[in-house]
């Protein structure tokens, strides 16, 4: 008769597993935590070699950063992000729907083309785009940057909305047609509501892509800088605590997004590869 409880082998395995798990968690969380702590520690505490971790927190770094011009760049990033999501969804959702719900000649080839575009180094368009924008008067504008970001996000939006729409059961749509709705009506009343969770996650991720993008933003904007461009051009010349405060500002939407959309992160990223 087996005695209740864990065997020695199981216990050791369990302990090793717990150790590995905590090492992995620490590897991810510690740098994050440290930089956030430092972002909120006053310069005297930070520059004091005897203090490893600050015990009292302050908002003074964020305030200083704000005064340096971060407020405006955060606003710019938000505007560009919203524009990017709007444009890419306007252009991308219909295409995604077409891939999901229609059979047509060239479907596979076009989809492969889209996957190829997703892998194209979009940042290389920034250099000529600057020159082109000068001629068009779009130079140093948020609209110009949003248009470039839309090019970056569009393949992703098409691919992921295609996957999301595919997930809406065809039977429901056909049933709606039987009940007398027009195809457009089906789209609004049946498809969109069911696709909404996935599309919302895609929208948040698209916003995040634009928010995080630094190369194109740094090249195309000068006075209307977005946050990453601002960091590159101003914050890097400032003191350490200011740098960390800037880093914190950058990761706030990322942390919010992960909190809200964590379930979709895995599916979203793996879908766009296939």
């Amino acid at each position: 008769m087996e005695a209740p409880g864990y065997t020695l082998g199981e216990t050791i395995k369990g302990l090793l597993r717990a150790w590995a798990a905590s090492m992995i968690a620490a590897w991810i969380v510690t740098p994050l935590g440290i930089s956030i702590l430092y972002a909120f520690s006053s310069p005297d505490l930070y520059y004091n070699p005897g203090i490893v971790l600050p015990t009292s927190l302050t908002l003074s770094n964020i305030q200083q950063l704000w005064n340096l011009g971060a407020a405006q760049s955060v606003l710019n990033s938000v505007v560009v992000g919203i524009l990017t999501v709007s444009f890419s969804f306007l252009l991308g959702l219909p295409a995604g729907y077409a891939f999901a719900k229609y059979l047509f000649r060239g479907r596979d080839a076009l989809k492969l083309l889209l996957v190829g575009m997703r892998m194209f180094p979009i940042i290389v368009i920034a250099v000529p785009l600057l020159v082109i924008y000068f001629r068009l008067g779009l130079n140093d504008t948020l609209l110009g940057l949003a248009l470039a970001h839309t090019a970056m996000a569009l393949p992703f939006v098409v691919l992921i909305s295609s996957a999301v729409f595919s997930g809406v059961p065809r039977e429901l749509e056909e049933a709606a047609l039987v009940f007398g709705l027009t195809p457009l009506g089906v789209f609004y009343r049946v498809t969109i509501p069911l696709a909404l969770p996935g599309l919302s996650a895609a929208a948040m991720f698209t916003f995040l892509m634009s928010w995080n993008e630094v190369f194109i933003a740094s090249v195309l904007t000068l006075t209307n800088r977005t946050l990453p461009a601002f960091i590159l051009q101003s914050a890097l010349a400032s003191t350490d605590p200011i740098k960390f405060a800037a880093g914190f500002l950058m990761i706030v939407p990322a942390l919010i997004f992960i909190l809200i959309a964590r379930r979709y992160l895995i599916t979203a990223w793996s879908i766009t590869i296939r």
């Binding site: 991308g92 892998m119 250099v127 992960i258 296939r274």
Partner: protein, 281 residues
């Protein structure tokens, strides 16, 4: 909804047109900027590129960084994905934790690791106060370029391993339970299942992850700029510098075209090599 003649094309056309315009025209313009001076074709920009810029170094470092970072993070991602394959208490929480860096930008990742490695950063403070060292170790700065390189590698692995992991993990999760159970019926133990079912199932998603990760690695910019500035020149960094600081558009265009060329070449050879069956959608 079936085989309808024009609707799908009408729906797709705007997106395709937009991409065509925003990729095609800039590429053409790039070539023009790089190779045409006042309307005449010239290769003088290449000459200036090779003699008066950091082109060779940037090319070298970009590829070197890509090679080192990707090798290490793929190994880590696979090990962690396999480790997290079987459920255990806290497994789901750990998966989410590992995925967190996915949403973090390279600039932020650079700043985060700056807070760990700089003179007043966490590691130095820790070691100083523990009595292990007498004065701060310098990880960042031109004189310690080799350590800067390591810092960049560390920060990038921390940030982008999540990308490889997510794709590999998602792919692994789809390994049919039936195959696993069949293996168990045939008496496969833990290690046998690992070797004959799990590891082979990693290959397709890993290949996808590898190609996308490598292509993005050629564009490395933010992390390098934050941690090392131009001490470690990379293609994208030099392109930015040439364009925005030196106002040499033709040189910048050449850098950009180099990134595009390397990416396309790599993508082409990679797909050829694997006859990318799994990329067919």
């Amino acid at each position: 909804m079936g085989f309808e003649r024009f609707t799908p094309y009408v729906l797709i056309a705007p997106a395709l047109l937009y991409m065509g315009i925003f990729i095609g025209i800039p590429i053409l313009e790039s070539v023009y900027i790089a190779f045409f001076e006042q309307g005449a074709f010239t290769l003088s920009s290449i000459d200036r590129l090779l003699t008066s810029s950091n082109y060779v170094e940037a090319f070298k470092f970009t590829l070197l960084l890509a090679g080192v970072i990707i090798s290490v993070e793929v190994l880590l991602a696979v090990i962690i994905a396999v480790f997290l394959y079987y459920a255990f208490p806290g497994r789901d929480a750990l998966v989410y934790i590992v995925i967190v860096p996915l949403a973090i930008s390279d600039v932020a990742a650079g700043l985060i690791w700056y807070s760990i490695l700089t003179g007043n950063g966490f590691i130095n403070k820790l070691l100083l106060n523990a009595g292990v060292i007498d004065s701060p170790i310098q990880f960042l700065g031109y004189t310690v370029r080799h350590l800067e390189f390591l810092a960049i590698v560390l920060a990038e692995i921390w940030r982008s391993m999540a990308i490889v992991f997510v794709i590999t993990f998602a792919g692994l999760q789809q390994v049919s339970r039936e195959i696993i159970e069949a293996a168990e019926v045939f008496g496969a133990g833990f290690w046998a299942k690992l070797r004959h079912v799990i590891i082979p199932s990693i290959k397709p998603p890993l290949q996808s992850a590898l190609i996308i990760r490598t292509l993005f690695a050629f564009q490395i910019f933010g992390v390098v700029w934050v941690l090392a500035g131009r001490d470690i020149p990379v293609l994208a960094g030099e392109a930015y510098y040439e364009l925005r600081i030196l106002f040499r558009e033709d040189i910048a265009a050449l850098y950009a075209l180099t990134i595009a060329a390397v990416s396309i070449a790599f993508g082409y050879f990679y797909l050829r090599l694997l006859r990318a069956r799994h990329l067919e959608v």
